[in-house]
Amino acid sequence: MRLTALPLFAAAMALCAETGPVRVEIFEDLPKGSELAPGEAKPVFVYSEPYFAFPRIPTKYSGEALPLDRSVPFVMRATMEGALPAGKHVFRLRSRGAAVLTVDGVEVARTAGQKPNTSSDDPVPPPVVHDDSGRRPAPYPHQDAVAEVAGGKTRRIELITVIGGKGLMPTPGELSVSFGPAGKVERLLGGADAPMLTDEAWDGVVAQSEARHRTADRARRLDSSKDVVARWRQRHDAVREYWKSRPVAVPAATAGYPANPGIDRFLAAKMKASTVAPLASISDLEFLRRVTLDATGLIPTAEEVRAFQADPPATRRAKAVERLLADPAWADNQVSYWQDVLAENPGILKPDLNNTGPFRFWIHQAFQDGVPFDRFVTELVQMEGSAHQGAPAGFAQATLNDAPMAAKADILAQAFLGQKLGCARCHDAPFHPFKQKDLFSLAAMLNGKPMKLPVTSTVPVVEGMRKPAVQITLKPGEIIEPEWAFHDLIRHNDGAPAPTDGKVDSRRQLANLIVSPQNERFAKVVVNRVWKRHMGLGIVEPVDDWSRAKASHPELLDFLAREFVMSGYDIKHVSRLIFQSHAYQRKPVEQLTEQQTTAEKRYFAGPLRRRMSAEQLVDSLHRAAGKEFECEELNLNPAGDRSPNQFLNMGKPSRAWQMTALSNERDRPALALPVAQSIVDVMTAYGWRQSRQSAATQRDDAASPMQTLILANGVLGTRMIRLSDDSAFTALALKDAPLTQLIAETFLRVLSRPPAPEELKSMRELLEPHYAGRKVAGAESAALARKTDTRVSWSNHLSAEATRIRMEEERNLRMGDQPTNRLKPAFRERYEDALWAMVNSPEFVLMP
């Protein structure tokens, strides 16, 4: 029976018509025991869904747009009314936790609540079996409850479910209600066009739900933070007033030197008095590859290259800059940098190695939402929101650290003030003008009250023994008051515009002192960081330690700082100025000589030659191949029966910055995530730190043989060049086009340039003999077959079966993606070998 009468169902009720007919209410803090009967309780949030599938719950935000935790547990009620076609129907409730399904107020199905699990050696449940119906089986540890309901009239259907709880993950799992004729696959309850409960359709349901909620979350948090945005705007107006009186003189143009207004004039003025000459401009295509990587962390697509080439030569570079700065990927490319600088270090398994919460998600959100950078810093310092769901509260955490706030004070001072206090953790800094007290008085500001120096944060002095080589002026146990330590930067912020809201605690005071317009160091440190990211070297070096540093171009630094402040603390504005400069658009400096390493002799004749970052490499490989980012969910407790304090669910990554340390210190095969590991292997070789126990601005960028090897022979490299049915290269090769066009298009996709004549020649020689007969007649495209067995969870990871399952996945993964049947192996292998050579050439990883 097809569900012919269903349109009635869809048309009858639209309680909340925005996205669908299902009205959903979220309840928090219901009295214990009455969770499954919210009755007339007031929901904290009401929204709608197109059908009864709830893989994603809306994020809760504070007035500052920070993600918040919901109560433990919280309750969801979903309701729909509609005419049910005549005859008998099967209703299928699928839930991981406690849920009740009622029809016209009468309970028809119920699932039991999930219990926290303390085991690690449970048996792996038997594999889920597909019956003849084609229905997606309930994944472990979900339960199905099935009821028969008579149709023929309008019915009110209500689902109430408890999500999370003590020792449980606060996620709904694959919660759904579907209905249909007995013995057949059901359709999700909603409308006639609601998806069926099949494996293929479910993947789509999850993806669409994620996309829909991501958009809705963003709109909601922008709306909820309107007042905050307005307050920061007011503050920026006041700040502009303050800075208006302090203009920076831009030098006149220097004759004979290429100069876009601004940056280049400062550089030309210094270069003129030297023997150093500016290097030549790079080609348009080189520029496009460089700026696309710098702005979005990706190489340009072939389409972008073509559109760029179609633009008028005089304006195409400027136009590309604007397009790229508006690209949502701009935010992605900011995250990894600040993860390093702010030592974001989440652990997915019983975090205990100086771990923080996953505040990467807030970093991304802030850049995506265009949060001004002074507000960003203020919110970071205040450390509020949900620690587990990615808010700045996660920054406050530091597991197994004797003085977390001292660690954070050190990170903040390096990041935003260029003050490296790390040595002062245990003694007065031997190479810096800091005393241990300076660090601990800042730490006390973060602490909100006086702090005692831990006995473990000192160097022991033993009577009669050799004296330590370092000065110690604080005694263990000494009490340190909250106090601002950097009076040479700013004494106090009396003259600065007042705080934007009523908060006066010491964290807020610290934030105000850091971002105060009177504290010019802040703006200078930030613009210098941006400059270094794009030019390869700072105006001040090292960028995180200004104690002995000299600016190579002090006036340029003033100019950029002023631009930054006047733009409303907009990092994007600073990037734009740099991208537009001639200096940025020059050939890279060939040799890192003295002029690049001492401030006096630093001219910026051109930027430094940079290698793609680990994240840029991984993301660019995916972009070249046109493949989706495929990876397991970063979660060692898919069963959901453990506390989020112990097991973090970091979700399914779609960009490389979302990868994380895989935390298999236990060295157990069943705790491995093989696909994630294969990506992490590449990233580690290219300088990504799986553990960010401390802040770092400069990654380890030394070239090493492992970089070549892991790309050449490793799983990720093999997958990216494999001509599977989801590869863009496969689609290219199947096009009816001359071979030269395939080669040209391939070069464009991978290296953003046409092939050189000798390259074209060698590629032709390789591919020509098999090109004409490359296609297999009648062969069809196959879907990607690799699946992660979600039965393996912490609760059973010690079992032999769990070990066997993961080791088999590891072995299968080594084979790479399934090759397409549509191309004959003789051609396919040659084309893959060509791709291999292009991707493994140093040209791919080194930026123009």
């Binding site: 690690s120 157990r668 491995a672």
Partner: protein, 418 residues
């Protein structure tokens, strides 16, 4: 600088006094570091006591047998190793303060330090790689058989001192083995094409230092993945009887470790992580205890064969074998018949490496609960390994300009050096 372990040792004065004495300098050139992840019960392996009953009465779970060290016994399931213990040193008084969390303790036993939040400390394998380097350009300095994780990382030393790893001997080292579908013919074709791509790029950027460096490591990489090193992984080249004597996957890893050392690798970590043998690995809570003897027997076969094999190949004096674990376990049994964690008194083993072997260092009390003689800290244990390898444990490494001593004031066990 060095702060925490110091305070946990409480032996400040003695440690400080000894700092000025020149450390002994051993002659070993390589280290095989066997890792019993999970925390191996010392009273069920290297430090047997009166038997318990598996329930109320604390004590060893097995009988004990004599060893080649006069008057010293080990667990009955170490019967192949027992007669070879004169080639080894049992350190029965290892002690540190982390017993709650495996990862934190394992990290401590690998790096010799607790995380500080100001630096990520390197693993002992990375330190050895940094101090000694590989013997030849054709092999890496540091190889791990187990899963990559933070405790094995190079930390502030940088990726250059990281490891090559494999998770199963049959699949070989990640990144060094050609993908299964690439035969020699394809490999040759690939490298020819790559050669042309590289040449063109180099020519267009003739004087660029960074291009030159990246190209140079590409060249070096293919040398590393060359047949000389990859043949090391072909265990079929060994006699069948020897392979059988080593035992299962763990034994094969130990055999591979010997081959790696022979080829010039300096530090090989071999993880014994096949937890399915008893359902819990060495982390023998609850029922994991029942079949713990299977793990011990597997360790016994592999360890004893490794010692004799190294000796037969005249490598024992120059190869230090370490059996390490994150903590021991208390003599009492938990309600499920297994054991909890105990870090304040447990055993680790050193063998070969040119040390004065046939000794036991330190003692625990009648139940194995407390140390009664010579506490050995993790920095002390590390210092002993470094000294055996000719590395000065007090020497500074540098994290930027910050000096970081190789060990946190570790004092080598001088009685092991002549």
């Amino acid at each position: 600088m060095q702060r925490r372990d110091f305070l946990m040792t409480g032996a400040a004065g003695a440690a400080m006094a000894a700092v000025n004495e020149a450390p002994p300098k051993g002659k070993a050139g390589a280290c095989i570091y066997i890792w019993l992840g999970g925390g191996a019960a010392h009273t069920d392996t290297w430090d047997p006591k009166v038997r318990g009953d598996g329930k109320k009465k604390p004590g060893s779970y097995y009988d004990s047998i004599d060893t080649a060290i006069r008057g010293e016994k080990v667990c009955e399931h170490l019967k192949k190793s027992a007669p070879l213990m004169d080639r080894a040193v049992i350190v029965r008084s290892v002690s540190h303060g982390i017993s709650a969390e495996h990862a934190a303790a394992a990290n401590l036993v690998h790096t010799g330090r607790l995380p500080s939040g100001t630096l990520q400390y390197p693993s002992i394998g990375s330190i050895v790689a940094n101090q000694l380097g590989a013997r030849t350009e054709e092999v890496p300095a540091y190889v791990v058989m187990g899963y990559p994780n933070i405790m094995r990382d190079p930390g502030f030393l940088g990726a250059k001192y990281g490891y090559v790893y494999l998770t199963q001997t049959e699949t070989g080292p990640t990144g060094l083995i050609r993908p299964p579908d690439v035969d020699l013919n394809r490999e040759d074709r690939r490298e020819t094409l790559l050669g042309k791509m590289r040449e063109g790029y180099r020519k267009r950027n003739a004087k660029d230092e960074v291009v030159e460096q990246q190209d140079a490591v590409t060249r070096q990489a293919f040398k590393l993945a060359g047949p000389k090193f990859l043949n090391v992984f072909d265990l079929k080249r060994e006699a069948q009887a020897l392979r059988e004597s080593y035992g299962g996957e763990f034994g094969q890893r130990c055999l591979l470790a010997r081959r790696l050392v022979q080829s010039g690798v300096r530090f090989v970590e071999v993880s014994h992580n096949l937890n399915f043998l008893n359902g819990s690995g060495w982390d023998t809570h609850n029922e994991g205890q029942l079949n713990q003897h299977l793990l011990i027997q597997e360790l016994d076969s592999a360890f004893s064969t490794l010692i004799s094999d190294l000796e037969k190949n005249k490598m024992l004096d120059s190869t230090l074998v370490v059996v390490a674990t994150e903590f021991g376990r208390p003599p009492e049994f938990d309600s499920g018949g297994g054991r909890g964690h105990q870090s304040l008194a447990y055993s680790m083993v050193l063998a070969g490496g040119g040390l004065k072997t046939g000794q036991v260092v330190g003692r625990t009390d009648d139940t194995g609960k407390k140390i009664v003689e010579k506490r050995v800290s993790i920095p002390d244990f590390h210092a002993t390994i470094h000294c055996a390898l000719g590395i000065d444990p007090h020497k500074n490494m540098f994290a930027g300009e910050r000096p970081v001593p190789i060990t946190d004031r570790g004092q080598p066990l001088r009685e092991l050096f002549s």
